[in-house]
Amino acid sequence: MSEKPKIAVYTCYCGGNISHTVKCEQVAKLLAEQPDVVVSRTNMSLCSDAGQSQIEEDIRELGVNRVVIGACAPSLHEQTFRKTVIRAGLNPYLYHHIGLREQDSWVHTCDADGATCKAVRLMAAGVAKARLLDPLEPIQLEAEKRALVIGGGVAGLRAALDIADQGLKVVLVEKTPFLGGRMAQLDTVFPTGEEAHILLADLIDKVVNHDKITIFTQTEVTKVSGYVGNYGIQLTQHSRGVSAENAKALQDACQQMVADEFNYGLTERKVIYQPYHGCYPPLPAVDWEHYNGEPININGKSEILKDEIQQFELSAGAVVVATGFDPYVPREGEYGYSELPQVVTLPQLIRHMALNPGAKSLEWQGHKVRDIVLIHCVGSREIEGIDEPQEDGQVNNYCSRVCCTATLHMIEELRENFPKLNIYDLYQDIRTYGRGHEDYYINALDNGTRFVRYHGEEKPKVFAAPKGDTHPVLVHVTDALTYNQELEIPVDLVVLATGMQPRQIDDLVKMLKVSRGNDRFLLEVHPKLRPVETAVNGVILAGTAQGPMNIQESISAASAAAAKVISLLGSGQVELQPFVAAVDPEKCNGTGACVEACEYEDAIALETFVEDGKEVTRAVVTPANCTGCGACVAVCPNRAIDVQGWTLAQYEAMVDAIAMDIVDLVEAG
């Protein structure tokens, strides 16, 4: 450290958030007495223009070279003040931020003296650390101006389009042979009632015709290496199996039928297939997973189709994960599912309606449906100890958010098409939270839908009616609205409003090293402040891979993800925080303990150099891959590694300061 530290300390009132509990003036007074502190001030709102100008002025006028601020959480305004410090000509890492609001005033509202004392300790520790701060420079990396978007559903398409529109290259990878994802399986969508496939076709059209976007269908990501700005990606693609010339003949000749997952098993399709009319790409594809390998006869020749797997390597600066969701599939016997033929899921009913447009009456397996019951929260909001756990031992305790409005939207459609149908809606809570969604609930009430409210602890029971009953199925439900009386509802069809589950993407999660929440959906860094970024730099989330969302929210999330990618890669440079491990070559003697302790690939390695004719082995850090976790610091026997900006020496100084005897001072003040 060359120059003598001149520290400025600021204690922010945060408009009362801090000052209502912490005696800020007293804190400032005590801090002024700390060594090397040249000025200690309070401010009503330090993040305001006036507050920031004060800091700049002090740096310029008083020659301040270290800044300590006690204010809100650093996640909120640390960056603000870094910029303030830069404007005044100081290195931004010569500033330290203390979260007085979240860590002190908000949690000790009943103990003003204690909170004040704690504030003094925290701030004194900040001053002690500031004294030892070194100027740092952010890590600059070359960035590949190309993004990889995983998933060709509505979120992936939107993200790809938004990124490409800003001039960046996009590689869009879709696992299935066709674009469109789950949205293609919907009929009309709330809240506008537009047809899903028309909206989707418009989006697909733009993506397909965009010269910056390359699309790979039947393709999966099989390897990921590298770091933000420079990910190495390996793609594995299955072949289509047919060509434009022979597609029709092959499809016509193909005899093998399998359940059509596009219609959730309601119909069958050939193994050479297109899911729906007008899908993209228009060329049929072979379902390799189900193809039995038997020859197909065309023009007197028999042909055995072969899957030719190809692999590609590419580099990408950022990865957008838009892998989407799977609808929950009820267990056998759950609400009679797969035991009674009259029990279906809502996605199945949506397909059934789409397959029978203009039907005069609702028919199910040849029988007219007079009474229908729709049950909410199937596979959602499950309760531990009551509901049977999923495969991983957890229950789906989250709300799938979309199903309430989807169910009520279906009810509206049923009512419009079949006015005489008796409709029962079994719900826990109606969560029609979006703009215009409540209208579906109000309409359902007005059109005579009968709502029955059950408690999660007492699920409705679905069973076959005894012989001679007027209806094939009986539903028993304890209705909270009828003063917890048990009702018996005789019905012809039971519809289960199934929730959303994350897709099986274990391999991808492992490759990208992203985290998942307890609900198994991918996890963002911060639900409020950084809602689309993952803890892995350069890996961004879009859509329902992150959690249940409707189409509108998926598109918002996708556009947000695109914006993040664009701001990350737009300049062709990626800037990272310098808080990474740094090896002191003087002290390192190449024990390799750090390399063993490191959890991250290619972050630290032993390298051998020749110095003064001698071979020396030392640890070398690759800053782009280092997360600054500190595992290496803890194991180094020589104290040869430090995390920059958070060195051991700084920690020791902070601990000493926190432990200092200040109680008397506070009381005296």
């Binding site: 709502f451 029955v452 009828t482």
Partner: protein, 384 residues
């Protein structure tokens, strides 16, 4: 507990009995929160509306609740969904009247205007024919009503009619008792309770005092209750006179004004005209919640009352003016209004609330007492 089977048809059935918008209700419970009569035992009107929504006809039949409501209309005004809970309760009273009635006529009258008005006309015409057939000599020199319509014969006809009414009422009340006190109870009620609580019937029949509580928190007096009480007093007075004192009432001798025969008659007529007129004007103006919706049966009852009272006055006047023929004809017309009002309205129409309401309050008290007793005691009582 056996499950209540839902019945989607009940809602549309009840629509024929009134204008409640049951289907729009989202069960918020504001109606029950505002109601001064609601209790943990009887959380109406929400529980009733819910039973209509799910079609719990059996549970509804066993309910007292609709009879405990006096339609102040606070619930309808508070309802955020315009479900008209007050009107639903009114419809349920009509529906219950139809359920208690074993002949099925009440249902016909409530659900078909043709049936109701047709029956009125038939009974009226029948009365005219019988009256003309049985009438005595027409004296035109002076008014001799008792020669034209001998009071002995009319009195006998009164008693025949009263006997018929008692017969229908007894059976309907028995059915009401069975639904509420047997089917709707989880235990047997000791007979002694029916005796010790019987005074409730008399009290509520004559005072309708429960209704007076409807607006107890408000500054303004409950004029509906007062007007209704007056009208009931006139009606009851007339009923007693006609059934028991007709010979004293229907005389050709003209008494002085201070004679009770005169002023009792005037009092009854005035309060009847006032009460019925107020109800009719209210239903035309629709300015209070109670009068916003008018079922055909709501019109027929006060209109008949008014016509009975007006023809009574007219007859009285023409007799004093010494117009014999007009008096005789008016008398027959008067009978043609009186008969359907009693024969059809009493067991099958709106009039029935006169005994269903006090009985319901009586049953409620008996029920409460029975439920408060230790279970063993009630079983013991039933074993006797």
């Amino acid at each position: 507990m056996t499950a209540t089977r839902v019945d989607p048809e009940l809602l549309s059935e009840l629509k024929e009995y009134g204008d409640g918008q049951v289907e729009t209700c989202f069960n918020c419970g504001n109606c029950t929160a505002i109601c001064p009569f609601t209790s943990a035992e009887y959380p109406f009107p929400r529980n009733m509306i819910r039973l209509v929504q799910i079609g719990g006809a059996e549970k509804l039949k066993q309910s007292i609740d609709p009879w405990l409501c006096y339609y102040c209309g606070d619930c309808s005004q508070t309802c955020p969904r315009g479900a008209e809970p007050g009107e639903v309760m009114m419809s349920l009273r009509r529906w219950l009247t139809a359920q208690y009635d074993f002949t099925g006529l009440a249902k016909k009258f409530y659900t078909s205007k043709v049936w109701e008005i047709g029956a009125m006309v038939v009974v009226g015409v029948l009365v005219v024919v019988i009256a003309l057939l049985l009438s005595g000599p027409v004296v035109t020199d002076q008014v001799e009503l008792n020669t034209f319509a001998p009071v002995e014969i009319v009195h006998v006809a009164d008693w025949i009619m009263a006997g018929m009414l008692v017969f229908f009422i007894a059976i309907n009340v028995f059915r009401m008792w069975k639904y509420i006190m047997v089917d709707g109870m989880d235990r047997k009620v000791p007979f002694s309770l029916y005796i010790t609580e019987a005074w409730q019937i008399v009290l509520h029949l004559f005072t309708q005092k429960r209704w007076a509580q409807c607006e107890e928190d408000k500054e303004k007096k409950n004029w509906n209750w007062i007007a209704h009480l007056l009208m009931v007093s006139g009606y009851g007075l007339m009923l007693v006179i006609i059934i028991f004192f007709l010979k004293w009432f229907q005389t050709d001798e003209i008494y002085p004004v201070w004679h009770p025969q005169r002023w009792l008659g005037y009092y009854a007529t005035i309060v009847l005209i006032f009460g019925a007129g107020r109800s009719i004007i209210g239903r035309i103006k629709k300015n209070v919640q109670m009068h916003r919706f008018s079922h055909a049966s709501d019109w027929i009852f006060p209109v008949l009352l008014l016509l009975v009272a007006l023809t009574g006055i007219m007859m009285h006047t023409t007799r004093y003016l010494g117009l014999p023929l007009v008096t005789y004809y008016t008398y027959i017309i008067h009978l043609a209004f009186v008969a359907p009002m009693l024969i059809l309205e009493v067991p099958f129409g709106k009039w029935a609330h006169l005994y269903y309401r006090p009985l319901a309050i009586y049953f409620e008290q008996v029920r409460a007492k029975a439920k408060a007793m230790p279970v063993a005691e009630t079983q013991l009582a039933s074993a006797d």
